[in-house]
């Protein structure tokens, strides 16, 4: 077992780092910005990625990509995260839509969409979750009814990042209400013309997510991806890419959370308190375990394996360390963190509140534990 980069990896990492250092030189620390400012920089960053030919890093050369592997993409994301780079505004396009269309799309679909994503002028969002579906994604009820030349779609979607910027949506809808729940679903590459988008305000004041209401939205047959009724299978592909795109980012965010906690403790003069030192020791264990576990997961992937249920352990550890570090940071803050007019205190509280979502988004904590129980411990299903 060798955790070192190979010479090739190292060279790539250096190339990436060199480019990032230049491209980020004028980009401020995102953590201290307002939502609007962050969104501005996300757009700028997306443009720079496209201009720098990084958008299709792990796409096949035949599709206009650079033909590198998922690890390269992970390394790029890691190096970007370490430098506090903005989140690219078309992450869904680059990381989810493109690869899924490459995997399941027709030639026509690939020709229609891939170039726009690489150029940076076709923005995507992901319409999977629904208000009623929660952790039980396949229970979705958005209904697509057959009409001449396509489908008429009615329903509501939620937790859609970037819906207000996107023109296309990876949309799941139920095309056969009579079929078993995983079989009646179809995956659409839907234009968003008829979508009503409403932004959701999160508890920290950010508007990261949206609701989308579909009222007799027409989607043409050409925009069915992977065949009618095969939506669940296609969706699993997208979800796998989604997990993969996080691969080396989680640990960076965990380490940064611990860094910031130490900073506030130093500032407040309690960094030598033994109770605090013990807390950092415990957080350090979890944070490093996320990093190392991510490396092992990528190692397995590269060796041809499929990331297993252990990724649920990483997600779970990551959520815990970030939540605990961020809670402790606000509690150590001046006035217990509740006076939010100072920029530092406000950002710390914003991060603490944001982190409450970590045990909910991307598979709830309860779902992660169920996966571990069923697939690692081989216990019977409890859901």
């Amino acid at each position: 077992m060798d955790f070192a980069d190979s010479d090739t990896d190292l060279a790539f990492r250096r190339e990436v780092g060199g480019w990032l250092d230049g491209a980020l030189a004028d980009v401020p620390d995102q953590e201290e910005l307002t939502q609007d400012e962050r969104e501005h920089w996300s757009r700028v960053w997306q443009d720079r990625l496209c201009a720098g030919n990084w958008a299709g890093l792990s796409w096949p050369v035949a599709h206009g990509g650079r033909g590198m592997d998922a690890l390269a993409q992970a390394v790029f994301n890691e190096e970007a995260a370490v430098r506090g780079a903005p989140y690219p505004l078309n992450g869904v396009g680059m990381m989810l839509a493109g690869p899924t269309i490459i995997a399941h799309g027709t030639d026509a679909q690939q020709a229609r969409h891939l170039p726009g994503i690489l150029r940076g002028d076709e923005y995507w969002c992901q319409g999977f979750s629904e208000p009623g579906s929660g952790s039980d994604l396949a229970s979705l009820t958005t209904a697509a009814t057959r009409v001449d030349g396509g489908w008429r779609i009615n329903g509501a979607k939620i937790w859609t990042s970037n819906a207000h910027n996107a023109s296309r949506c990876l949309l799941l809808a139920r095309t056969d209400p009579a079929a078993p729940k995983h079989q009646g679903i179809t995956y659409f590459l839907a234009p968003m013309d008829g979508f009503t988008v409403r932004s959701l305000v999160m508890i920290n004041g950010d508007t990261e997510f949206n609701e989308m209401f579909l009222d007799d939205v027409f989607v043409a047959d050409d925009d069915v991806l992977g065949g009618v009724g095969n939506g669940w299978t296609v969706a699993l592909t997208t979800l796998a890419f989604e997990r993969g795109s996080m691969a080396l980012n989680l640990w960076v965010w965990a380490r940064q959370a611990v860094d910031r906690l130490i900073d506030v403790a130093v500032e407040r003069g309690v960094a030598d308190d033994s109770a605090f030192v013990d807390a950092v020791g415990a957080l350090q264990c979890d944070a490093e375990a996320v990093r190392i576990g991510s490396m092992r997961m990528l190692g397995e992937s590269r060796a041809g394996g499929v990331p297993g249920p252990e990724t649920s352990a990483l997600k779970s550890l990551w959520a815990r360390v970030v939540q605990n570090a961020n809670r402790l940071a606000v509690q150590l803050d001046e006035a217990g963190g509740v006076l939010v007019d100072g920029a530092g205190a406000a950002a710390r509280m914003r991060r603490y509140l944001r982190a409450r979502a970590h045990t909910i988004e991307g598979g709830t904590e309860e779902v992660q534990k169920s996966i571990l129980a069923e697939r690692v411990l081989r216990l019977p299903r409890s859901r």
Binding site: S129, P131, G134, S135, D136, S139, I158, W159, L200, V201, M202, I203, G205, R327, V330, Q331, E334, A335, G336, G337, V338, L339, V340, D341, A346, M349, L353, R356, A357, T359, I360, E361, T364, E365, E366, K369, S370, S382, R383
Partner: protein
């Protein structure tokens, strides 16, 4: 031993609970247009001002637990009334038995007070500071009060704010301010005042915890996933059972601490520290679990769970940080045990 609520206490809980029920939603209303007095604010200040006030201070024999029952009921519905802060100020004043009766306009709520006990940069309350910087922070409803009762190393006094600086509060229904005070002319001994005031905050925290648990349980009873209501999954139910256990522990500690303070027991201090620490932790934990049980909706502004979390944090920070109270409880416990063993 009659460790049960008296009929009067049950009546207080019901009456204030009904007032509070009518003011549900007022915490949320503060998000648009800032704090406004809830409908119950006036009646509470007018009719319940004698709760918990010792006879020596002009009371009519009501014990501290009476007051805490009222405050807990308000906390459960997040009613942003000035009553708890006013009551805490009154309690701060009447901690020393030798003090005379309080002004009538204070006891009948015509003069609304607030409490100034936390010093910027300290995690404990102001009487632990060796030099008084004459600045107080986390003062609730300062601009909405007619007077300020301050705590300092020298004692308590009706304070004259030289400057009131409004701060941005995590919970918009609880405006907070920094106050610069004039040096006190005749501070009075604080006695058990800080302990009494801290218990008012602890009681409100117990209410917040209960309210968050009630909301979470309601969600767990109704929200369905995988064909079942989610409350039938032990993975959802058990953490709520833990939250309920923590809340019960905190409330029992708070009630007992109030009795210990009222009866002048020597362990009153450690009991109050334990109560305040446990109440803050129970409220934050319950609110976090409430968010979790609500899933995605729980992390949106439009759902209510975050309101409980915000109030929990504001109260945990006030009148001595929760973490400070926990450490004090530990210190006093260890000291007492050492003394026993010689």
């Amino acid at each position: 031993m009659r460790a049960t609520f008296t009929q009067e206490q049950q009546d207080i809980g019901r009456t204030v609970g009904a007032l509070a029920d009518a003011d549900r939603g007022t915490a949320r209303a503060a998000w648009s247009g800032g704090w406004r007095a809830p409908a119950g604010d006036g009646p509470l200040l007018r009719d319940f001002g004698l709760l918990g006030v010792p006879e020596s201070a002009g009371g009519i024999g009501s014990g501290l637990i009476d007051l805490l029952v009222a405050v807990e009921a308000l906390g459960g519905r997040l009613v942003p009334s000035r009553f708890p802060a006013h009551a805490a100020a009154v309690q701060l004043l009447c901690g020393d038995g030798r003090r005379g009766p309080l002004p009538e306009e204070v006891l009948d709520g015509r003069r609304v007070l607030t409490t100034a006990v936390d010093v910027p940069g300290n995690s404990g309350w102001a009487d632990t500071a060796s030099v008084d910087p004459l600045v107080r922070t986390l003062v609730p409803y300062a601009a909405q009060a007619d007077g300020v009762v301050a705590l300092g190393p020298a004692g308590v006094w009706f304070a004259d704010p030289v400057r009131i600086t409004a701060r941005q509060s995590l919970d918009p229904s609880v405006p907070l301010a920094d106050l610069t005070l004039a040096a006190p002319e005749r501070p009075q001994p604080s006695g058990a005042g800080p302990l009494r005031a801290a218990l008012v905050v602890a009681a409100e925290l117990c209410g917040v915890a209960q309210g968050a648990i009630d909301l979470a349980a309601e969600q767990a009873r109704t929200r369905r996933q995988f064909g079942r209501v989610i409350g039938s999954f032990q993975g959802v139910a058990f953490p709520l059972a833990e939250a309920a256990t923590a809340r019960k522990a905190a409330w029992d500690l708070t009630l007992y601490a109030a009795w210990a303070v009222d009866t002048g027991r020597p362990d009153a201090g450690v009991q109050v520290h334990a109560a305040k620490a446990a109440a803050g932790q129970a409220a934050v934990f319950a609110a976090e679990r409430c968010i979790q049980v609500h899933g995605g909706m729980g992390i949106t502004m439009e759902a209510d769970p975050h309101l409980f979390l915000r109030r929990a944090f504001v109260l945990d920070a006030r009148c001595g940080r929760g973490s400070w109270h926990r450490r004090r409880a530990g210190e006093l416990r260890i000291r007492a045990r050492r003394a026993t063993r010689g």
